[in-house]
């Protein structure tokens, strides 16, 4: 196959980035895959265990529980974040000064670091020193301990996700909304369609792909999250918020069981790749639609 001049130039231009990907992604991935076949404690490779580490991950009660908790967290975080993000996108879609200001305000939690945001919420939720007990006191709930109760702690984690990432969902969905032709709304209005009907009949069908892309990206984000549980709940109480990211972090960087951690990480990697392939397919479908 002949490579023409412009193709060659393109390859030269992307070569540095491909080299970086190779050095910083492909090689560590290869090393990780290699180490996942060994017992590695404290960076010391001891014995070959084959697929033993993968089996240990799949049969570990702690890992299985973290998978279940991640499912619960992702499900609720996804629903609340998506609904909040879509509502905000619809409310702030116009480009008036007020709407632009509104967008800037909504983006604040997304622009501050995850760590700082989670620490802030931890203080707010603290029964001993936080604002939340004051807010709940008029409803007779001033004594409720949010972070020390397993169900409430998971709810706090979901709130953290929604508080921070609904702005991210808003941006993605707003880009989709901007691409919906305004003439369609004008025509529907002339035909007597109300706001709800316009939303159901025009907005939702034309937003199908942006919505799917947003959902998949949020799933990838939530399924891999570490900072929220690490800072807000520490995985507790009683491991009630010990989701996959935290379990993986602890196995590798606190327990120093790097063989198992690598096996665990590779399995999570495959899951992520599947989701990314789904996003790519969705993008292609969108291009074909366009």
């Amino acid at each position: 196959m002949m490579i023409n001049r412009s193709d060659r130039t393109a390859w030269w231009l992307v070569a540095p980035f491909l080299a970086m990907e190779f050095v910083f992604v492909a090689i560590p991935l290869g090393i990780g895959a290699f180490l996942s076949l060994y017992k590695v404690d404290f960076l010391e490779r001891t014995s070959f265990v084959g697929l033993g580490n993968y089996w240990a991950v799949l049969t570990s009660p702690a890992v299985l529980r973290s998978v279940w908790l991640t499912g619960v967290f992702t499900f609720f975080a996804l629903i609340f974040t998506f609904v909040a993000g879509f509502s905000l996108a619809l409310m702030l879609e116009r480009d008036s000064r007020l709407h632009v200001f509104g967008r800037a305000v909504v983006l604040v939690p997304f622009t501050i670091s995850m760590l700082v945001g989670s620490m802030l919420l931890k203080w707010i939720f603290s029964r001993e020193a936080g604002l939340m007990p004051f807010a709940l006191a008029p409803f007779g709930l001033g004594d409720v301990s949010i972070l020390a109760d397993p169900t409430n702690a998971m709810a706090a984690l979901v709130f953290n996700a929604m508080w921070r990432d609904s702005a991210f969902a808003m941006i993605l969905l707003m880009a989709g909304l901007k691409s919906v032709p305004l003439q369609l709304y004008d025509a529907a209005r002339v035909d007597g369609a109300g706001p709800l009907r316009r939303f159901v009949r025009i907005t939702l069908p034309l937003m199908r792909l942006p919505i799917l892309i947003t959902l998949v990206r949020l799933i990838i984000h939530f399924a891999n999250i570490l900072t929220f549980p690490l800072i807000l709940t520490g995985g507790g109480p009683s491991d009630a918020t010990n989701i996959i990211g935290l379990q993986l972090y602890r196995t590798g960087f606190q327990d120093y069981r790097l063989g198992i951690a690598n096996a665990f990480a590779l399995m999570l990697f495959v899951f992520n790749i599947l989701l990314i392939l789904l996003v790519i397919r969705l993008f292609r479908a969108k291009e074909q639609q366009a």
Partner: protein, 434 residues
């Protein structure tokens, strides 16, 4: 000799001088979490120490490469495997076992301790720490900053409640005192000042559990170090877990929120006046006194762990920082010489006076300045360490053992499991890591 030859000879002589000076000069690289350019106590002490050492050893330069403290051990092991480790390393007690197993550090007994005058060795009164890295006749690390968790309390609140802290010899007496100290000052039905606070989160609570001192004082051993087996699910273990759960559920002297509080959270609330007693790392004493919203200088004090029978003070787990030299260092004699200096009487004095650390040597403790009232907390801890201190089994992976025990308390507090089952789970987690 023509001018060109003269110039050549001159350049040759200069090059020779340069090469010979390079051959004589040694740069010792040290990885530490300290930074001599910073103004805090320990950083300033290190700076002064380096200056003094380099002055008396003109051929040696100490090069400090500051690291994130939590990554020091792992990075050193990686450096050891790739041949790029520094000459000197600060290592925390939790990573000591890994370094020993990797056979990565030099024998300091042979390097300098064996050459000490008689009695110098015994000057290190915290024997568990001094012998922590001793294998046979070899010694692969020496203690620098001893650390432990203990009970911080407020003198003013104790006085107001009419409690003499010296009278709290048993855990039951401590619980009774905590009940007396728990107060609802605004009458809303919720305590504003809790009797006791403990960091029971499973995150960032390393080395701050009171569970092990309770268990250790109730039985002979908590771990079988040789087999790396924990003995948690014992009557002593059950009693320890039930006491903690009781503080929250039955006695109501500790808020349920403690289940998710780490050491920082507990100390912040202590500083804000929410607790009369807290379990905290001793190394945070000075900072806690400074940040307190009440008069910390006058009212903050420490007490050693109680025991179940009250016959002596409870066992102190020794943690903290140690010094080691890389065994493949090309500057090993210079590196061990600097380590020797850092733990010499002069060195320990600098760490104590400038760095605010508890002196590791009895001889320094006997200085007149440490007899002053403001150092009373140091004397209390020295006594506790001398009475009963022990190291975690360095040959085992003890990472997160305290998180496992805290999780057992969670299970009992939340009614998810009885104490024996919760402790069995904790044993299982420990064994899984070995």
């Amino acid at each position: 000799m023509n001018p060109a030859q003269r110039l050549g000879a001159l350049l040759g002589a200069l090059a020779l001088c340069f090469v010979s000076s390079m051959a004589m000069a040694q740069t010792v690289t040290m990885w530490t979490f300290l930074d001599p350019s910073k103004p805090t106590g320990r950083d300033r002490a290190l700076k002064q120490m380096i200056d003094a050492f380099e002055k008396t050893n003109p051929g040696i330069t100490i090069k400090v490469e500051s690291q994130v403290f939590s990554e020091l051990g792992a990075k050193f092991l990686l450096g050891h495997r790739t041949g790029t480790a520094p000459d000197i390393i600060f290592v925390n007690a939790e990573n000591l076992g890994a370094l020993l197993r990797a056979n990565a550090t030099a024998d300091l007994q042979k390097a300098f301790v064996s050459a000490w005058a008689a009695g110098q060795d015994a000057d290190f009164y915290m024997r568990a720490a001094w012998d922590a890295a001793k294998v046979g006749d070899a010694r692969y690390a020496v203690p620098l900053f001893p650390a432990t968790a203990t009970i911080f309390y407020r003198r003013d609140l104790f006085a107001a409640a009419g409690i003499d802290p010296a009278s709290l010899k048993t855990w039951d007496e401590l619980t009774a005192a905590a009940k007396k100290l728990t107060r609802d000052t605004n009458g809303d039905g919720n305590p504003d000042v809790w009797g006791i606070g403990a960091p029971l989160s499973v995150e960032r609570t390393a080395g701050t559990t009171a569970l092990v001192p309770m268990m250790q004082s109730g039985q002979n051993e908590v771990w079988d170090g040789a087999a790396c087996k924990p003995h948690y699910a014992t009557p002593a273990g059950e009693r320890a877990v039930r006491t903690h759960a009781g503080w929250i559920n039955a006695d109501k002297v500790m808020p349920r929120e403690a289940l998710v509080n780490n050491t920082d959270d507990i100390l912040e609330q202590f500083a804000a006046g929410r607790f009369a007693m807290v379990i905290a790392p001793f190394a945070r004493f000075e900072n806690a006194a400074k940040t307190a919203t009440w008069d910390g200088a006058a009212n903050l004090a420490v007490m050693p762990w109680p025991t179940w029978d009250g016959e002596r003070s409870g066992p102190q787990i020794v943690t903290g920082w140690f010094l080691a030299a890389w065994k493949n260092s090309k500057n090993l004699p210079a590196a061990t010489k600097f380590i020797d200096y850092m733990i010499s009487e002069d060195g320990v004095r600098l760490w104590a006076t400038v760095g605010g650390q508890v002196p590791t040597r009895s001889s320094v403790f006997n200085d007149a300045r440490f007899q002053a009232p403001q150092y009373g907390y140091m004397r209390t801890m020295r006594q506790a360490w001398s009475d009963w201190s022990f190291m975690l089994p360095t040959g085992c992976n003890t990472a997160r053992f305290d998180a496992d025990l805290n999780a057992a308390v969670h299970r009992v507090v939340l009614g998810e499991a009885a104490a024996p089952a919760a402790l069995k789970e904790a044993e299982g987690k420990f064994l899984e890591r070995q």
